[in-house]
Symmetry: C2
Subunit: 398 residues, 2 copies
């Protein structure tokens, strides 16, 4: 089914479950691709059983699978496999995030797909990737956060290694795979060739740690946890006030000079400890003490306003309730959008971060209920008759 949007006409078979793969395909679906989410009959995507729930429907699932159509198909049955391969003939991409080896066990490896459609693009997301000594290990997000070095460097000098609250390994893996898929589609439009894309959660987080890796690779210093302080500039940190913390980033001398003025401490500019960014980074501890002493009788909101006014980058540390009510983020940038779901009713999900002026992203479809579009898709793509659909359904293929 042709949809509106910048990727109108792109056809994607989405075998993914839980987060990384669904987030990847969500990007394509939000931009107008016809994403067909294929789930096991009866059970479906595991995340259909992940909270929070709205009228018994998983909001976790509904957020990540909006703008897609959904069908059931038992890939373990011979007839299910054949239906899948017939769909492969008519589509541009297959995306999966099974544990490596599963597509091979199902008899649906890249060579098999390619034999049916030489231009097919297969994108795979997994914990450790399709090759390498650990490739068969299951890869949850926390495993990627731990093995990439992200956890060992996040948190406080006197505290424990710390997990980033969101499943950032899954998110980074999903975004990386979407980039690979679109680059491959560009190539396909030019040459007619297909591609096989392999993205791992661990690699994705390692790539995202680039400056931190570079410190070790170039200087041999092993980066440690340093709280909210940035290694390259100071004051670039969180600061306590009378009623909570806020963040500020004076990343150059000009901004630091402005700060000294507001603090009414022009002598700090001449102080040898603070007269250059390099020295301020070295003397971050006394610098922070001086700033926090000055902030002790002030409120965070007042300071953010005052600093922002004179051009010093500063921001409140918002909680999620505040973010969802923020006039910039929620209203102007539309980062929380309403959808109307057949079971859950009117609800809000997270919007898309890619703002396109000529082909804006739309939220035209709530996530599918299990098998909602099975008949529609099979009629449309393979001209399957009503009788045939009934038989396939009765035999557990759909």
């Amino acid at each position: 089914m042709e949809r509106n949007g910048i990727l109108s006409g792109l056809k994607v078979l989405d075998l993914t479950r839980i987060l990384a793969g669904p987030y990847c395909c969500m990007m394509l679906a939000d931009m107008g691709a016809d994403v067909i989410k294929i789930e096991m009959p009866q059970s479906g995507d595991d995340s259909r059983r992940f909270g929070p729930f709205v009228n018994g429907e998983s909001a976790y699932f509904m957020n990540l699978n909006r703008n897609k159509r959904g069908m059931t198909l038992n890939l373990k049955s011979a007839e299910g496999k054949e239906i899948f391969l017939k769909l492969v003939e008519k589509c541009d991409m297959v995306v999966e995030n099974y544990r490596p080896g599963t597509m091979e066990k199902l008899g649906l490896d890249y060579a098999t797909l390619k034999a049916r459609n030489p231009a097919i693009i297969l994108g795979s997301i997994s914990g450790f990737g399709q090759y390498g000594p650990y490739h068969e290990r299951p890869g949850y997000d926390i495993i990627a956060q731990a093995m990439s070095g992200l956890m060992s460097t996040t948190g406080w000098p006197d505290g424990e290694p710390t997990r980033t609250s969101t499943a950032i390994g899954d998110v980074l893996g999903g975004l990386g795979c979407a980039i690979g898929l679109l680059a491959a589609y560009v190539r396909r439009l030019k040459t007619g060739e297909g591609e096989r894309i392999d993205v791992s959660l661990v690699d994705s987080v390692v790539s995202g740690l680039e400056v931190i890796n570079q410190i070790y690779l170039s200087s041999g210093r092993n980066p440690q946890r340093s709280g909210n302080r940035y290694e390259s500039a100071y004051p670039y940190d969180s600061f306590k006030t009378a009623n909570g913390s806020f963040v500020m980033s004076c990343a150059n001398d000009k901004l630091f000079s402005k700060l000294c003025e507001i603090m009414n401490m022009p002598e700090l500019e001449a102080d040898e400890r603070f007269c250059s960014n390099k020295n301020r980074v070295q003397n971050h501890a006394p610098m922070k003490r001086i700033i926090e002493d000055w902030l002790a009788d002030k409120s965070a909101d007042e300071m953010v306003e005052k600093l922002t006014e004179v051009g010093i980058p500063a921001a409140p540390i918002l909680d999620i309730a505040q973010v969802t009510a923020d006039p910039h983020i929620a209203d102007a940038r539309e980062m929380f959008v309403p959808v109307d779901h057949p079971v859950a009713g009117n609800m809000k999900i997270t919007g898309n971060q890619i703002k396109l002026s000529q082909n804006p992203i739309q939220f035209e479809r709530a996530a599918p209920t299990l098998g909602q579009h099975t008949a529609e898709i099979l009629r449309e793509y393979l001209d399957v008759s009503r009788e045939e659909l009934a038989r396939l359904s009765a035999e557990g293929v759909l």
Copy 2:
């Protein structure tokens, strides 16, 4: 200059600085696009002055700008603008991460670019985006981490809001813009139309927080910091042993049953507090105590090996030195690659996470020194003569 790679033939003008924009264009350059990095004469990208340094060259810069060519061009001069617009006529994309309004002030807004090349794709990355009440505020990574809710939910229940160690807002912004650019290029190949892409760091982090947002949007519960524990499954956390912590994720009953067996505590499976995932999440504190009591005389490495062997997802919490020496990550997955830089010599940078079997990513070029390819690019694209180059250089245009 045509390069090898899946994006061979794509021509990108890269006006970006520091991290988010350069990381975005690095993705395109790694995949074979001809990315022309344009820098101010004399000064260049600010990050050329960011440590760590190798033989006086910034490794921060060299990592993010490999596989690109570099030229200088003063966009504030009339002749510089005209040269830029002539390049726009011959290229597919322009990418910038100035503060919103800067391209307009330079006289290089989207309408102007489009007038010279109706199919041009302009991608912009900024802290808050191109519109909305905060759009003119400067947006460093820590600002995005604070305002998106990521900091307020990362860290420990009794601790402070915590910044994720890497500049994850910049990384997410760069990846999101790369997706928008490639989607727009797909459209352009099909219809000849251009596009204007607006990605903000704040929106990008908000999108990455999807399940956390969804908890609040769907249930009204405002997610708080919960250490390394996952909200949806338990035991999915870090655990202390006699010699440090490791992570484990028993996300379902089957895995928990295996764990009880290894712990030699089959009675836990029948214990009402732990008999279902829902109950284990509720009773995470006593569950963690029992597991850590059992681990008190064991080593982390020994446990990771033992648990992995029976199929329970577990991993060590690696530091950066360990990651860079890991046989899977460093050797098999090639996540740290050598480049040969004219000044820095042989050095290592971080590899790319997108593994393409048909058109693998290559690291054929170290990052450019300032203006390294100015003459080459201007001759190649605009047939500028040697004499003209000398004049432009003498007059400070190049």
